[in-house]
């Protein structure tokens, strides 16, 4: 009862303090507040505009750096929509390269044409959702609104469904049927369906005088054509659009600038101006350039850049309506943080000692797996030799710590070892690199010196 009563009190007190402290602070610096009066109006919009941009909810006006591909794809789909010419095409590029963005841009531009808008039917499939042809066929039927015509009859057997859909597609012809656009996201996964029935039939329709269709596959696998069976491959038109960014560092830096700056049509023009000039100074900063260079070295794709900028943006508040170089550095640090090494900081001394013992075992036995007994022996040797700050823990305690490490997946059992062996003899491998262990040790709070020395010593 007491605890319950006492708990709410501090909270309300804290709230009061917070609420109180916020106002006083603002009132303490009236001059600053004055100068940022504009921030109150413009600020929510900044967050909204930039977040939409970074979370890919808003398509860019013009796809960056892929104008040629954009034109190619647009022309191709236009021919399908207007001339009724069947086509098939693959968009290939690494993750985050903007494949879906390109396709969406093209579709947006395509649908601005009234003629296309009236005619084109679209079917969107995703290899992660339609995991086999049966589901895919149902989805196609649903998206083409064919199921209304037959009640639930069409969802009878898989065979009926296939025959039904093929029949429907076969009935059409080039000049009279509405063209259908099939978008197959994660195209490579469709190639793993049994017999590649769906792909064969889609490509076959696209190569015969039936309903005009355009099959657009989106994938990140460069070897996707090798996945196709030869008869499927032969029916594919072999058009591929590769999205491989050839950005240079300077382009990348400029892109970051444009990604962060506000558009001209931003409602609060004054704020937008201020913001954009602040971004310019930010990009000119040496440390910022360094951080961005490092990111550029790691990966050129838009998605990782957006991730970084998103972290920066979330550090911006009404009180601090600009992005400072420190924000970017902090964001970069978060992005590049090593999760495994960070996990080591939370371990107990005993667990850390066990990890060190494992490291020594790895050194001695050249990466051979170990078991609990070996680790415990190694640990005991250390205790006997030079430890003055550590106790000798009981076997059960050590075992518990060992199991905890396994749960954290810092160690994992060797594959193929049967579950029959007693747990203390089960062979394990360490999932950490030495550099990670050493780095963690440096940062570990109040690490006993002798443990540190033990870890750094060349042999156990």
């Amino acid at each position: 009862m007491l605890a319950e009563k006492s708990k709410p009190q501090p909270i309300t007190a804290d709230d009061g303090v917070n609420a109180g402290s916020r106002h006083p602070r603002l009132s303490l610096v009236p001059a600053k507040l004055e100068s940022r009066q504009w921030a109150h109006h413009g600020f929510p919009q900044v967050q909204k505009v930039l977040r939409e941009r970074f979370c890919h909810q808003q398509l860019p006006e013009e796809p960056e750096g892929v104008e040629a591909q954009h034109k190619h794809l647009l022309e191709l789909l236009k021919r399908t929509a207007i001339h009724g010419e069947s086509n098939s095409l693959l968009i290939v590029g690494p993750r985050g390269a903007g494949k879906t963005m390109l396709l969406k841009c093209v579709l947006r531009d395509l649908l601005q044409d009234k003629e296309v808008q009236k005619n084109l039917l679209q079917v969107h499939l995703n290899g992660l959702l339609q995991t086999d042809d049966r589901i895919a066929l149902k989805e196609i039927t649903r998206q083409l609104h064919l199921e209304n015509a037959v009640g639930d009859k069409v969802f009878g057997s898989f065979a009926e469904n296939l025959a039904f859909l093929l029949e429907a597609l076969k009935k059409g012809d080039r000049s009279s049927s509405r063209p259908v656009l099939f978008v197959l996201d994660e195209f490579d996964l469709f190639a793993h369906h049994k017999n590649q029935t769906l792909l064969y039939n889609l490509f076959d329709v696209s190569q015969s005088a039936q309903t005009p269709i355009a099959v657009v596959g989106v994938t990140c696998r460069l070897d996707v054509l090798e996945l196709l069976e030869k008869r499927v491959k032969s029916r594919f038109s072999h058009r591929q659009i590769h999205l491989l960014s050839s950005l240079t560092v300077t382009q990348y830096l400029r892109l970051v600038g444009t990604q962060l700056s506000l558009p001209d049509e931003f409602p609060d023009a004054k704020f937008a101006q201020e913001w954009n000039s602040s971004i310019e100074t930010l990009c000119a900063d040496k440390s910022v350039e360094e951080v961005l260079q490092r990111h550029f070295n790691a990966s050129k794709d838009f998605r990782s850049m957006h991730m970084l900028l998103m972290l920066c943006l979330s550090r911006v508040s009404v009180a601090k309506p600009v992005i400072q170089p420190a924000d970017l550095q902090e964001a970069s640090r978060l992005c590049l943080a090593d999760a495994k090494a960070n996990m080591l900081h939370g371990l107990s001394i005993l667990e850390l000692c066990l990890i060190i013992a494992m490291k020594h075992l790895n050194d001695v036995y050249e990466g051979e797996p170990f078991n609990l007994q070996m680790v415990h022996n190694e640990f005991k040797k250390f205790l006997q030799r030079k430890s003055n700050s550590m106790y000798n823990f009981n076997q059960p305690v050590v075992r518990k710590a060992f199991e905890h490490l396994q749960q954290l997946e810092l160690i994992r059992p060797v594959e193929g070892s049967s579950a029959k062996t007693q747990s203390e003899y089960q062979l394990m491998r360490l999932m950490l690199d030495h550099s990670q262990i050493m780095e963690a040790l440096q940062k570990y709070p109040q690490c006993p010196t002798d443990v540190k020395q033990w870890a750094m010593s060349a042999f156990g």
Binding site: L76, I82, V150, A159, S177, P179, Y200
Partner: protein, 917 residues
């Protein structure tokens, strides 16, 4: 769609008398006559040589007609065979040949068949019953159908021309009256079918609706035959009111009793057998009294009316349910509104036209008994008890309704008939439609007339649309009938409280058993096409667009160049099989895009043209594709559906096909079956392939199977011996196209549209020929080249030819692998990781390393390059990205630093790509 669930009556065939002679060579005994009896019943039918008979065929409504030339069996007596001379019905002559006749064929006309192309030896057990066939002089008119029920021969047909035929060849050696020995006459009556032999099946056809090819002529004849029949029945029925009365209150009577009584009546009135009947059952022919005569006259009129009516499918007339209204009308005719009137009058007509006399309870059964009667033609005798029971359930309830003195309806009937005639004129339906649907139509009006007339219009349109296949129409109608027939019932019930509720079951029973399995409506409508576009597709406007359209793989070329030899081989193979009426298999192999399927299709087009020109007998072409089915066993379903339109489960379809291909069916046309992507029909037991290749070897199958697959040695590789052996050695392989052929193909497709430079074409064809010889690829590249050309031309009006540069660009786009570009475009760390990987490979001397090992190298390289050292998670992310593009092959990522890494491309490629920077 059609399931044979009906009970079959077992017939027993045995020889009558001692063998006439013995053929030592063939070890066969010749017999003079054959007796057919139905198990469990005492009567027998006797077939003599020289007599005309009906033979069970695929189309059960429309048995084949033939004359027995010889009856013989083997020593054991197990095998009974008959040598026959065939006659063809009008419906069996191809419609396009009928015009050679120069006049409208008479529905009861048959032709003496002279072509050798069909087997004249049949299994005696397929004989149904005797039939009367009369020879007519070429000039003499056909007798009035109302007076005679036999079939008429004027001409012979040798599958090409009609010729006058000599009476001597046709006429039965024995006159029908004298042919059966006295004792057999007793037996014959139960086959009233004898008189309207085809009629009964036709009625059943109407009832069951899913028969493959409802024969218009037969149905027509059936209708007219019935008229006759009904007249006779009517008078007789009237004459014996007591019996009628008793039947009327059928519920009290045992069903079998009712039925047998009915049968007797029915048979008694059959003109064809009347003579015989007189001997044994004189009481059946009690002279009609005056009233009956009067009625008869009226009927006469009605018959004429009905006949006129029958020429329009829409006017067809209703059925049993309307029998009740009749009674109603009798009681209070004034109370009836127009709607009720219609059915009632129409019914009258129907009765007169179609079935036995309304006068008594017999007529009552018009509808209800149809099913039972249908069985008779097959049974020849009283149906076995099982059948009787079934019939009873159907018919007895009806008896209660039908006790209407029919004379009462006269006026209303006339009224409606005039109205109907008016409608008739409006609708102006084709003759054929009318005849094929004659019986079925009787059901339709029920729905139509009870519903609005707009419905009728709609129906009309639908019919026209679906006319291409008769059976569909029939099937559809039947369903209407089923639906419609129920409604009136309920109506009746509300009005006449005296009616017993038993009708409902009566209506429900038949639909549930034979009809439910086939629900043709859904499948028919189950293929809605993609909606048609609101705006028309634009036509190509310039040379390049024109060229692009022509180069699309989908466009059908005027000819198939470069496959003349293969075309010729396949053509002659199939043609010879069709002409000989035999079967065979052929295996066609070749890499994709070498024109296998296209060539076969071209062959079929040519053969079809030849058929039209009468050069070869007609055949059916059907096609299945292993890739277009979900399971090898679905091929049975697809073949059956394409062959007959039936829908069945895989097992059932296999059984039906087995039966179809193994049973002798005279005058069967050859079926050409194309099996594409044969390798996908492989199953563990290979039974699908086995069957496909086994059927052609059957004597009566007349099946030609062309199989297509990619690998040349498929039979040796995947087929077990018994399958490979049946496939035979007729093989053909399509070589990949050479560059000259590819060039020729493009040229012929372009067909003088000047869009390409010569050199450019040659480059494409050489390149493709060197790589795969795939014509599709070649066409795709050319198409892409036209696009590039179009885009590169700055001025859209001055588009030049597609030149070398455009083709080169297209080739690069399609053939170059993206790996090297991908590496060039990779980020710095990704490139470093690849270098580290190669360094590690060299150090280990292996093509595989764990991530941990590579990571050490990676860090070292970073130091060398003066970059900030990477952390494990950074490096791991880089590694995963490369793995996602499949530049690297990785183990599952849960292994973390322990996962093993391999390159997906050669080290040289990687080094080349990295050095190029």
């Amino acid at each position: 769609m059609k399931y044979f669930t009906r009970l079959r009556v077992r017939r027993v065939y045995r020889w009558l008398g001692e063998p006439l002679s013995f053929n030592r060579k063939l070890k066969t005994y010749d017999y003079g006559s054959l007796a057919i009896s139905v198990e469990g019943l005492p009567r027998t039918t006797v077939i003599h040589t020289g007599q005309h008979i009906l033979i069970e065929g695929e189309d059960e409504d429309n048995p084949y007609v033939a004359k027995v030339v010889r009856l013989f069996g083997d020593e054991s007596g197990k095998q009974k065979k008959a040598m026959v001379q065939w006659f063809v019905r009008v419906s069996e002559v191809p419609p396009n040949k009928l015009k050679l006749l120069g006049r409208d064929p008479h529905p009861q006309e048959i032709f003496y068949y002279q072509s050798r192309s069909c087997d004249d030896e049949v299994d005696a057990e397929s004989i149904l019953r005797p039939v009367q066939v009369k020879h007519l002089d070429g000039a003499s008119p056909f007798p009035d159908p109302a007076e005679n029920d036999s079939l008429y021969v004027k001409l012979s047909w040798d599958s090409k021309t009609f010729k006058v035929v000599d009476a001597a060849v046709v006429e039965s050696d024995l006159s029908p009256a004298s042919s059966p020995p006295p004792h057999s006459r007793q037996s014959l009556p139960p086959s009233p079918p004898c008189s309207p032999p085809a009629a009964a099946p036709a009625v059943r056809g109407a009832f069951r609706h899913a028969l493959p090819t409802p024969d218009p002529a037969v149905i027509h004849r059936a209708a007219s035959g019935e008229v006759r029949y009904s007249r006779a029945t009517m008078s007789a029925g009237k004459a014996r009111p007591v019996e009628a009365e008793s039947l009327h209150s059928a519920t009290k009577y045992s069903a079998s009793k009712c039925l047998s009584a009915k049968r007797r009546n029915a048979s008694a009135r059959t003109p064809g057998v009347r003579k015989k009947l007189e001997l044994n059952t004189p009481e059946k022919l009690i002279p009609p009294d005056d009233l009956n005569q009067l009625l008869d006259e009226e009927l006469e009129k009605e018959v004429m009316l009905a006949q006129r009516l029958s020429s329009s499918p829409h006017q067809a007339l209703p059925l049993t349910f309307s029998l009740t209204p009749l009674k109603k009308a009798h009681r209070a005719p004034t109370a009836l509104d127009t709607i009720t009137l219609k059915p009632s009058t129409v019914v009258l007509k129907k009765m007169s036209e179609m079935d036995s006399p309304p006068s008594s309870a017999r007529d009552d059964s018009t509808r209800a008994t149809t099913p039972s009667r249908l069985k008779e033609p097959r049974t020849l005798k009283e149906p076995a008890l099982g059948v009787l029971a079934e019939v009873e359930s159907e018919s007895s309830p009806m008896l209660t309704d039908a006790v209407t003195p029919r004379s009462s309806k006269r006026k209303s009937a006339q009224l409606v008939s005039s109205r109907i005639r008016k409608q008739l004129n409006l609708l102006d339906n084709q003759q054929d439609l009318n005849s094929d649907g004659d019986d079925t139509e009787e059901f339709i009006p029920s729905k139509k007339e009870l519903q609005s007339s707009s419905e009728e219009e709609e129906e009309d349109g639908e019919e026209e649309a679906g006319l291409d296949s008769d059976e569909e129409v029939v099937a559809k109608r039947s369903r209407h009938a089923a639906a419609g027939s129920r409604t009136p019932h309920s109506k009746q019930r509300t009005r006449s409280s005296t009616r017993t509720p038993r009708k409902t079951p009566s209506k429900k029973v038949p639909p549930s058993t034979p009809r439910t399995p086939r629900t043709p409506r859904t499948p028919r409508l189950a293929t809605p096409s993609i909606p048609s576009r609101t705006l028309p597709a634009r036509q190509p406007t310039n040379v390049l667009e024109e060229a692009r359209t022509r180069l699309h793989v989908s466009s059908v070329p005027e000819s198939l160049p470069c496959r003349e030899q293969e075309f010729q081989d396949i053509y002659s193979f199939v043609e010879s099989k069709i002409i000989d009426g035999t079967g065979g298999c052929m295996y066609i192999s070749g890499v994709p895009g070498t024109g296998k399927t296209a060539t076969v299709h071209e062959v079929m087009r040519c053969l079809e043209r030849a058929t039209d020109m009468d050069e070869i007998p007609p055949f059916r072409f059907i096609e299945i594709n292993g890739m277009k089915m979900t399971d090898p066993h679905q091929s049975y379903v697809q073949i059956l559906q394409k062959l007959t339109g039936q829908k069945a489960t895989a097992d059932h379809a296999a059984a039906l096909l087995e039966k179809r291909f193994s049973n002798p069916a005279p005058r069967k046309e050859t079926t050409v079956l194309l099996v594409d992507e044969l390798d996908l029909l492989w199953t563990r037991k290979q039974n699908v392939m086995y069957n496909l290749f086994d059927w052609p070897t059957r004597r009566h199958a007349r099946l030609v199977v062309l199989t297509i697959a990619n690998t040349m040695d498929l039979p040796e590789r995947i087929m077990i011996n018994r399958v490979a052996s049946r496939l035979g050695l007729t093989r053909m392989s399509f070589q990949p196209y050479s560059f000259k052929q590819l060039q020729q193909i493009i040229m012929s497709r372009l067909n003088k549209v000047k869009a390409f430079e010569e050199d450019a074409l040659q480059l494409v064809s050489r390149k493709v020929a060197a790589l795969s010889g795939d014509a599709r690829r070649c066409l795709d590249i050319c198409r892409r080249a036209t696009e590039i050309c179009e885009h590169s031309a700055a001025d859209p009006s001055a588009k030049g030819l597609v030149g070398m540069s455009h083709v080169m660009e297209a080739l690069n786009e399609m053939f170059s692998s993206a790996y090297i570009t991908a590496i060039k475009c990779a980020s710095v760390q990704e490139q470093l990781f690849l270098r580290a990987l190669i360094a590690e490979f060299r150090r280990l001397g292996l093509e595989e390393a764990t991530f941990q090992q590579v990571f050490v190298q990676h860090q070292a390289l970073c130091r060398v390059e003066g970059l900030q050292p990477v952390s494990v998670s950074e490096s791991l992310a880089v590694c995963q990205r490369l793995g996602a593009c499949r530049l690297l092959l990785l183990e599952p990522s849960r292994l973390g630093v322990l996962q093993r890494v391999r390159l997906n491309i050669s080290q040289d490629d990687v080094l080349f790509a990295l050095k190029a920077d």
